[in-house]
């Protein structure tokens, strides 16, 4: 379902990733673990095709990076849920609208949008702040909004870049519960983190990345 085959991507500065080969089966929970600057975000960006491989190829569902057309990219991304490391919330609309956006993109009905958004916002424990603007929220709350937006459309694969990075251990554990629940409903998860201790407390395959290569 997701497959990276000998993928290399170099930034103009020379940094980047190489020889990345792994796959994720349906329903799997995979951790991508490594220190800062190891290339975790780069791998994720390659999977949601914000970057394209210089070498090798990536398959996501029926999409192959070698044959991607420009207009296929939105279709491919709709199957994914993405928690960006820097959240990427829409600063011009409230929590509800931030989460609702991905459902509007796929043309869901207003009633269903409401039901699903309220559910996702409750999942991350932010029901009481649904009408707050992002800049009225703490860093951890913003991160939870990002998670709610990523899970609201029940994605086929959830890509989570440091989803617990800004959270205290209790809240982080709460988020891990949410991710495990989503995973139990059938969504595959690839979670990038530098927190080795935390990862060891959870079940799931661990991929270790260092200096742009899997080890």
């Amino acid at each position: 379902m997701v497959e990276l085959n000998n993928v290399r991507h170099a930034f103009p500065t020379g940094d980047g990733i190489r020889h990345i080969t792994f796959s994720i089966s349906p329903g799997e929970f995979v951790f991508l673990v490594g220190p800062s600057g190891a290339g975790k975000s780069t791998v994720l960006r390659l999977i949601y095709m914000d970057l394209l491989p210089d070498e090798g190829h990536i398959v996501v569902s029926e999409f192959n990076s070698l044959f991607m057309k420009r207009r296929d990219i939105p279709q491919m991304r709709r199957k994914l849920g993405i928690v960006f490391q820097d959240f990427r919330l829409f600063p011009d609309r409230d929590v509800f609208e931030n989460v609702a956006f991905v459902l509007k993109v796929v043309g869901r009905r207003t009633k269903e949008i409401k039901r699903r958004v309220l559910r996702a916002v409750a999942d991350v424990g932010l029901s009481h702040k649904a009408r707050k603007m992002p800049d009225e929220l703490s860093g951890g709350e913003q991160q939870r909004v990002a998670i709610a937006r990523a899970i609201v459309n029940e994605p086929y694969l959830l890509l989570a870049d440091e989803p617990t990075g800004n959270l205290d251990p209790t809240t982080a554990a709460g988020i891990m519960d949410v991710l495990e629940r989503i995973n139990a409903r059938g969504t595959s998860i690839l979670m990038a983190t530098h927190n080795v201790d935390m990862v060891n407390r959870y079940r799931g395959r661990k991929l270790h990345i260092m200096n742009g290569e899997l080890v």
């Binding site: 207009r71 956006f101 993109v105 043309g107």
Partner: protein, 283 residues
């Protein structure tokens, strides 16, 4: 349907969130459309302006001295059949002599012992016949009548005016095209600045699977609304302006609905095209 609702909602929110910049775009469009509208008004009114500034376009037709009163009446009858004539007035030999005396201070009769001046018709043309070509053909029609000795009219002045009018039309059209093109650039630049401000939001939209059409539709709707608003405002200004002018100089310009439709359509066209230009450069 959910899509359409989204697009409308998003466009509306766009105005709400960016009241000032929406206002600036609308004002920019209004201002440019007023300038364009003025040029368009001048272009379509060159003929009117020429005639209004030269209201005395009449033809004098001198009558054969041998005609008697009943023949003159018949001639007048024939004259009134000619296309393009609004008004005919008769000047008798005696009136002509009085005019002569007024102008020169001498009584011709005293000098010559007779009145050599012919009687004449003064023919006023209908507005739309006051062009060099038409005036000439009407004059020809008059001079072809039996009993008309000579036809006099000031064609030279008309021709010169006509020539300048022609030139004015060409220059005016050139400026019109130039200003229109400039307007498009100004408007698309205004929209572009607005979009650049939303750049990060748009990138995020793309990352979560929004298509290009989905992202750009609200901008196009905003452009459409701003363009229409600008068109309506500009039409109102142009209408009021031309009303004031017409009061000052009656008949100087004729405004028709076409001008306002033109200005409004141009506003809508600018609004949409401006948005498309701006989006195209970076979406």
């Amino acid at each position: 349907m959910a899509n359409l609702a989204y697009i409308l909602q998003e466009s509306f929110d766009g105005f709400r969130r960016a009241r000032i910049s929406s206002l600036i775009s609308t004002m920019t469009i209004t201002f440019l459309l007023i300038i364009i509208g003025i040029f368009a008004l001048v272009s379509t009114n060159v003929d009117h302006i020429v005639t209004a500034l030269n209201a005395r376009f009449d033809i004098q037709a001198f009558i054969d001295n041998t005609l008697d009163d009943s023949q003159i009446t018949g001639l007048r009858q024939q004259l009134s059949q000619i296309e393009g004539i609004r008004q005919i007035s008769f000047y008798s030999k005696e009136q002509a002599a009085r005019e002569f005396q007024k102008e020169f201070g001498e009584d011709l009769f005293d000098i010559l012992g007779e009145n050599p001046l012919p009687s004449s018709f003064n023919v006023v043309l209908r507005q739309e016949y006051r062009t060099p070509d038409l005036i000439e053909s009407v004059a020809k029609g008059i001079s072809d009548l039996r009993g008309i000795d000579e036809v006099v009219y000031n064609n030279q002045a008309l021709k010169i005016l006509g020539k300048y009018a022609q030139m004015a039309k060409v220059i005016n059209s050139a400026i019109l095209i130039f200003v229109s093109f400039g307007s498009l650039l100004v408007i698309s630049n205004t929209v572009r600045l607005i979009i650049i401000a939303k750049r990060s939001i748009i990138t995020t939209m793309q990352l979560v699977g929004a298509t290009r059409g989905f992202i750009q539709s609200p901008f196009i709707i905003e452009g459409l609304v701003q363009g229409s608003a600008g068109g309506i405002l500009a039409s109102v200004f142009l209408y009021l302006g031309s009303q004031i002018l017409v009061i000052e100089v009656p008949g100087l310009i004729h405004t028709s609905l076409v001008i306002y439709i033109f200005v409004l359509s141009l506003g809508i066209f600018f609004g949409i095209l401006g948005s498309l230009f701006a989006i195209k450069r970076f979406l």
